[in-house]
């Protein structure tokens, strides 16, 4: 070949961009729908855990424009539970049935003429919940005394497996040192800018579903969805739109909604469209797992790590939704990171808690694993008094050891870790950074340096998840493995080339790179190649591994396209050889021609050659007909887990070494990234611009995870980060430019020598920044996100004590609100007491009360409108009086529910006579507020609740002929 790899390796302009830059993208919500298509809105649970006692949906069903309201009862009649990936007697429905288990879980689907009308009807649905205690903390969830989410399990432990590789026990017994870290890795998500979208249509005549969704794969989930919809795979046609607005793993999680909207379409006999809104997305799409890890190392005196002991407790949320618990097993083969460690023990537990179910997210298991491993490496250096650089250097897998088989079964395909590491230190200016740190510290500034080495796996083995099963269970289920990639290269009658792949990109530029790859193979220009990436399971070649995840594109899909182009080329070479009177192996493809090597004048135009099998098949021997070639490629290296639980969990392993310098502001405790260097060996690079884009993009995600982002839950399971004002995605102000360095060691296992690169910084960067912050602060235990308030606890030190004694602090932990206050009533205690027990008085003094119904002497029900400023909603309040000591004290317990949220609280009121014949009312309360307002307005909530409570007592005092309101307002100003 005279023109090998001309286009690959160049940062050519992307074919995708012209449309996207001019507003002509074709995202799911940009595509028209069939006339008569209905729109869905979903009623979601405000509770983390509750029994659904009744759903009253008739007013919603009868509302104008509403076609249907589907509850769990309706949905379960038309579909089956989603398959659950562990051997446990539990189900996973796309909608709540008898119980809700997380805030945001679908409870009912309204299908109506427009989204606006559907949301109006959602507001008309009334649900009676019986709140249950929630379990939020993964370690607490292990306690069998805690509330159980799925009764089939008897506890919340869904899976437990222990593994042993080499002789960890013996190695630990004889180790010079044992170093340990405990990590609580938080929840976060990559939150693509485009949310989920589904348009589903059911054909009753054929009992078949046709769904358009911005799903990203893996298409193993096609089988899960088809089974849930109770149709054979061929009757579940899944298509994707041409453009998808980012995914980072997250758009795997649209699949339960595909089932739900399929059912909605079947129930209404009309196409149904649903576009998730951002509030739905944040509360209930998909999250990365949070994980508690205890990691121990057996270490020689010189810092050489001999053994690791992993203990991981993985929190997958309220359901084990496919493909979980994959997050826990994705990294299983490379649990030793970039290091040569031969002895490993692993204990893996998967627990269920009252949080949103987890799923794919960029890095997928890597952030959790490397946070523990690389925090450990820093602790080893500190505890042994060594330089952290030296500890990494001494433990790296040596150059020349590749392919290297890890203790847990992965084959690290290629690399020269030592060289990449040394190059990064030299080219990245590590020595200068150390100097800078010294200088900064001499000036009293808070400056730290962090380091991370990591191995970035890509091209997942579809069998790795079966490591969660015992070898015996695997034998019964049959082996699973491989990573089928597909690509089709076709020639049209005008000699044009098109490429079809099942890679389902969400902005990565697959079309451009495939054009480069195929152009190189056929001696053409990328502009000559038309690449189609929208997918249609009814027409395209695909398999279970299809889709865009585990950074598989460049290695697997790109490789398959290269092979398919090679097959076409081989056939074309034979046809050309016959025409040019040379042997097929003497034909070369260049400059849009097929020509005889050494005699460029003896040539035929590519387009003419390519059209030959269409126009004159008689002249082309059947076996040489070049029309369309499809390649299915799966690497033989990806074998199922062995009987000893060794698993080559991924085909490719890139190497990353990062270091950074951070400075922390002594006043604000904000972390500023002063310098960030990231070295990547991701094998051969096909498009440097896109590789840089993957790195800077992943880096920004990781920076968010390190410093800003957390899906936060209150202790009662209320969701606290329901808007982009509380879930803090970094902006251009927060993300610095990282220095990117490369080494290129091609993978021997992929057709193009490529490896994945898209997820690496999500694995390496969070812990690199944490190591730097830990270095700056001199602390051993540090968990993400590194919020200023968290850092302040270290940096600001103990708070100076107030000069004047302080009232009891008002705000409590999490969502529990504690408060106390006093009010002066003009009437004597007996009169005030009577008022408290009188529905009429209560109706007058409860803020916004529309009437009180007396159920018994001590049980009242009220309808109230509560609110602060413009934020108002109508609620039902259930009030019980207890511990009555007339006329001195009473305990008031209330539960309030409404569209904006729910609250519950207990208050103790005491009455004391005053000298002037009045009463001093003292009150103390604990309240909890959850639901919609907690998720989207938590910042304002405590104050709002306090205002309502204050209003109640102010009104009570006023009702007894207390002082004028202005005075009372001031009086209570410091109370609640």
């Amino acid at each position: 070949m005279s023109t090998p790899a001309m286009w690959c390796g160049q940062s050519v302009e992307r074919v995708e961009d012209a449309a996207l830059l001019t507003g002509r993208g074709r995202f799911i919500d940009d595509l028209g729908v069939k006339p008569g298509t209905l729109h869905a809105a979903i009623l979601r649970s405000p509770h983390a855990h509750a029994r659904v006692k009744a759903i009253r949906a008739d007013p919603a069903r009868q509302a104008p424009g509403v076609a249907a309201v589907l509850t769990g009862e309706d949905v379960t009649k038309l579909c089956a539970s989603l398959v659950v990936g562990v051997k446990a007697p539990i189900e996973c429905w796309p909608i709540a049935t008898d119980r809700v288990r997380y805030v945001g879980e679908p409870v009912a689907v309204v299908v109506a003429a427009s989204r606006y009308v559907a949301e109006d009807a959602v507001d008309l649905i009334e649900v009676d919940y019986e709140a249950l205690p929630a379990v939020v903390d993964p370690l607490a969830a292990l306690d069998t005394a805690q509330p159980v989410l799925h009764e089939g399990l008897r506890g919340n432990l869904a899976s437990e497996r222990s593994f042993c590789y080499g002789d960890p026990e013996g190695t630990f017994a004889h180790a010079a040192h044992r170093v340990s870290v405990t990590i609580r890795y938080p929840r976060n998500s990559c939150t693509p800018m485009e949310t989920y979208g589904v348009v589903a249509e059911y054909d009753v005549g054929e009992d078949a579903y046709d769904v358009l969704a911005n799903f990203m794969g893996p298409f193993s989930l096609h089988a899960v969805m088809a089974r849930a919809l109770k149709v054979p795979g061929g009757r579940f046609r899944l298509r994707t739109p041409p453009d998808s607005g980012g995914s980072f793993g997250v758009k795997q999680g649209v699949f339960p909604y595909i089932v739900l909207m399929g059912v909605a379409s079947r129930a209404t006999g009309r196409p149904v469209k649903w576009v998730e809104d951002r509030l739905e997305h944040l509360a209930a799409s998909v999250s990365a797992t949070n994980r508690v890890t205890v990691l121990d190392a057996a270490v020689d005196a010189d810092g050489r790590v001999r053994a690791l002991a992993w203990d991981q407790v993985e929190d997958v949320g309220a359901h084990i939704r496919a493909p979980e618990p994959a997050t826990l097993y994705r990294m299983h083969g490379n649990l030793t990171g970039a290091y040569d460690i031969r002895h490993v023990s692993v204990r893996n537990r998967v627990v269920l808690t009252n949080k949103a179910p987890t799923g794919l997210n960029r890095g997928f298991g890597g952030p959790q694993v490397y946070y523990a491993l690389e925090r450990l490496m820093q602790r080893i250096a500190i505890e042994l008094g060594l330089d952290p650089v030296e500890v990494i250097r001494r433990n790296l897998i040596p150059s020349g050891a590749f392919p290297y088989k890890t203790a847990t079964g992965a084959t690290l395909d290629s690399g020269d870790y030592a060289k990449a590491f040394e190059n990064a230190l030299a080219d990245g200016g590590f020595a200068a950074l150390r100097e800078k740190q010294k200088e900064a510290r001499a000036q009293g500034r808070v400056y730290g340096i962090g380091l991370t080495a990591a191995v970035e796996p890509s091209v997942s083995n579809m069998g790795y998840i079966t490591t969660v099963l015992t070898p015996e269970e695997r034998r019964k289920a049959g082996p699973k493995n491989g990573a089928q990639a597909t690509a089709t290269v076709a020639l049209d009658p005008l000699g044009g080339v098109s490429v079809h792949v099942a890679s389902v990109p969400q902005g990565q530029g697959h079309r451009t790179v495939l054009a480069q790859i195929v152009a190189d193979a056929l001696g053409l220009k990328p502009a000559d190649i038309r690449v189609i990436t929208e997918m249609d399971t009814a027409r395209d070649a695909w398999s279970i591994a299809s889709g865009n995840y585990s950074s598989r594109f460049a290695a697997a899909t790109g490789g398959a396209a290269h092979l398919a182009a090679g097959k076409i080329k081989a056939k074309l070479a034979r046809i050309a050889g016959a025409q040019l009177n040379v042997a097929a192996n003497e034909v070369e493809f260049a400059d849009g021609k097929a020509r005889a090597r050494g005699n460029p004048d003896n040539a035929v135009a590519f387009s003419r050659l390519a059209a030959a099998s269409h126009w004159s098949p008689g002249l082309v021997p059947v076996e040489n007909q070049a029309l369309r070639e499809t390649v299915f490629w799966t690497p033989p290296e990806l074998t199922p887990p062995s009987a000893n639980d060794e698993i080559n969990s991924s085909l490719c392993h890139a190497f990353i070494f990062d270091f950074c310098g951070v400075e922390i502001d002594r006043t604000t405790c904000a972390v500023r990234i002063d310098k960030y260097v990231t070295m990547h060996d991701c094998g051969r690079i096909l498009h440097p611009g896109m590789v840089a884009g993957q790195i800077t993009g992943g880096f920004a995600h990781a920076l968010g995870a390190a410093l800003y982002e957390e899906y936060a839950y209150g202790p009662d399971g209320s969701f606290l980060t329901g808007t982009f004002a509380d879930y803090l995605v970094p902006t251009a102000m927060e993300v610095p430019n990282p220095v990117i360095l490369h080494l290129e060691t091609p993978s021997p296992f992929t057709p193009l020598g490529t490896k994945g690169v898209g997820e690496g910084n999500c694995m390496s960067t969070p812990v690199c920044i944490a190591n730097a912050v830990a270095d700056a602060l001199g602390v051993a235990e540090i968990n993400l996100p590194l919020s200023p308030a968290k850092i302040a606890a270290h940096l600001h030190g103990a708070e100076r004590t107030p000069r004047k004694p302080q009232a009891k602090p008002v705000a409590g932990k999490g969502r529990t609100l504690h408060g106390s206050g006093q009010a002066q009533a003009a009437a004597p205690p007996q009169a005030v007491w009577a008022m408290l027990l009188d529905p009429k008085t209560l109706a007058a003094i409860i803020p916004g009360c529309h009437g009180v119904e007396r159920l018994s002497d001590t049980h009242f029900r009220a309808e109230v409108t509560l609110g602060v400023g413009p934020v108002t909603g109508r609620y039902k309040a259930d009030i019980v009086l207890s511990d009555l000591t007339a006329p001195k004290a009473v305990t008031l317990t209330g539960v309030v529910t409404g569209a904006l949220g729910n609250g519950g609280g207990t208050g103790r009121i005491t009455l004391a006579a005053t000298d002037d014949g009045g009463t001093t009312l003292a009150y103390e309360y604990d309240a909890e507020v959850g639901g919609k307002v907690a998720a989207i307005g938590g910042r304002l909530l405590d104050g709002a609740a306090r205002i309502v409570i204050r209003q109640f007592f102010a009104a009570l005092a006023r009702h007894t002929g207390g002082k004028k309101p202005g005075y009372l307002a001031r009086l209570f100003g410091r109370g609640a």
Binding site: D726, P788, A789, A792, A793, P870, L900, G938
Partner: protein, 275 residues
Amino acid sequence: MKPPNFDYIRAESVAEAHAALAEYGGEARVIAGGQTLVPMLSMRLARPKVLIDIMHLAELKDIAAKGDALRIGAGVRQAEALASRDVAEKAPLLAAALPWVGHAQTRNRGTLCGSVAHADPSAEIPLVLLALGGSVALSSHRKRRSVSAADFFTGMMSTARADDEMIEAIVLPAKRPDTSTAFQEFGRRHGDFAIVACAAVVSPDGITFAVGGVADKPERRDFPALDGSPLDDAIDAFAWELDAREDLHATAPYRRELVRRMGRATIEEARRCLA
């Protein structure tokens, strides 16, 4: 995430706005820039029956410098105030705070009076209004009145505005030549709600120091011309009095410490400008 139904009235005179407010009272909301109200509608947190759009009222669009006061009408957008020479000269504290209000893209629509009406405890404009001892010009079909900022903000998103009243303008005293001002803020990200925002007005005889983001409304204290540890003690006492909020983004002790450190720095900054 779509708004519930409401009627929409495009007022063509202040009297029409008054009439509509008189008719609907608490069921109506005035919409100006809409940068806070529209998302509250979309989230269905707010459910007014009627929206009264006042952005077509030319008489509310002025920034008027009259004597020793600056009057900013309800139709004036934050970006317009930021570009105003009068604001820069007569209310440099406001000019310093405005870049912290949301982002350029929201300041292009959002109004100053809208922010004051909403009374978010972390908002910058109410803080500045309080620090400067400004006032709010309210009007209704019944009467016009002026309420000092200190009396206007009554709590979390709560104000002294009656249901039938609208804010016509805010009025800021013009900067006296013998005073100097400074503004500092810290939020998790630029453009976020303030965790703590500090405003200081210093003169040779004293210090006015105001803090937002900590209590459920902006709060202000006047100190004599203290320095050194007496000043620290005064700020510390104020920090404790603020009854600091705890939330997802900051603990109460952290907020208090920011008040102490950033407060001191803000006062120092104002003093440097005075010198």
